[in-house]
Amino acid sequence: MSTRWYPIYQKGGPQLRVFLPNFWMKLIKPPHEQPPNIVQFACSMEMTKYDIKNYLEKIYNVDVVHVRTRIGLGKTKRDPGLGYVVKADDTKYAYVTLPKDQEFKFPDLFPKVSTVEEDYEKTIKQTKDGFKDYLDKNKERPGMPGWFTV
């Protein structure tokens, strides 16, 4: 269960064990509405459905009922200057079903969107504070030119 190299498994050989799995998974906000107990992930390309199930159960202790995966095609676009085609990497998506009674809602990670005025006030405050620091630093040395200390 990892992208690393392992000796080949043959019948009767010892079970291959993974001590340091290097797969990644990221929970993404589903672009299309899903039932409340379905969670969407993007994951390493090498992961199988069994890997995903084991990963979530063993590392995150999440109950998994069912896993579906698909590979999303990376978008292609033409280079604006020379016109050759550039393709983004493909991504593997996993749709994980939780038990019927559990549900997961993607949280609102950016609850407060700062307005233009707030940003402006913040910048003004930063500038004022910086100037005050500068004045404080040069209080002890009157007559020193402004460029002397950075």
Partner: protein, 250 residues
């Protein structure tokens, strides 16, 4: 959380056996034992709630190799999963920030985690090698060898085990074709090597001329630093060059 801490302290005190005659060594600079509660949830894919929408998140540095060499295998194994979860969390947060066109605070966290993971793997590999060398006299690493490809270029071939023997394995034979004499390849190599040679020579000449220019403009330069930056250039020769002299009669 606090009850957990008290429990840990009690455990620690239980382990310390005190005899009556021995004076108790009091430690002035002691740190509280900090423990975090283990949580298993899908919310582990997200950062602390107080960091949502923050401008920057203050974090420490990455784990160094020397620090990890002091740790036991069990500790390193646990640390790996901590790092793995942290990386997943950061990837999730980064993805969502990109989706919403928002700032992803302190993106250097990802680099730090990656660096820690690399260091951890390096330490584990060291231990693995030492163990294998002690037990079997071999490193236990994946075997490999330098081979020449079909185009006559050398590369490192990582060997792996196969179910089918080499002489019967047509798929492997198609995929890995090594060099055997070919007139076209010889012709290609001749030209390719010529190109490499010319590139090298041009670089040498360019550096030499550049050093001459430097010596001319800055005669009192630090020669050690110059030698370090251009190790291939013969500086004595460059000094005696005609181009290095100023426009005056000596």
């Amino acid at each position: 959380m606090s009850s957990n801490k008290i429990l840990n302290l009690c455990k620690l005190l239980n382990n310390v056996s005190l005899r009556k005659n021995e004076p108790i060594v009091s430690c002035i600079f002691s740190r509280n034992i900090s423990t975090t509660t283990r949580k298993f949830d899908l919310m582990e894919f997200f950062d602390d709630q107080k960091n949502w929408g923050a401008n920057d998140v203050k974090v420490g540095r990455a784990w160094k190799k020397d620090e990890m060499r002091l740790k036991s295998n069990v500790d390193l194994h646990k640390l790996w999963y901590v790092l793995l979860k942290e990386r997943n969390m950061l990837l999730t947060m980064e993805q969502e920030a990109n989706e919403q066109v928002q700032l992803f605070p302190s993106p250097e966290r990802l680099d730090k985690v990656e660096e820690s993971m690399e260091n951890l793997e390096a330490v584990i590999r060291e231990r693995n090698k030492a163990y294998h060398e002690l037990e079997t006299g071999e490193t236990g690493e994946r075997p490999g060898k330098h081979v020449t490809s079909r185009l006559g270029l050398r590369y490192y071939y990582k060997m792996s085990e196969h179910v089918v023997p080499k002489h019967m394995n047509t798929k492997w034979q198609q995929k890995y074709q090594f060099y055997k004499y070919d007139r076209d390849v010889e012709a290609f190599l001749l030209k390719y090597n010529e190109k490499l040679y010319l590139t090298k020579k041009r670089k040498q000449r360019r550096d030499f001329n550049h050093v001459i220019g430097l010596l001319k403009r800055f005669p009192g330069m630090d020669m050690e630093a110059l030698k370090q930056q251009y190790p291939d250039v013969d500086i004595e020769k460059a000094k005696h060059s005609r181009k290095c002299r100023g426009h005056f009669e000596p």
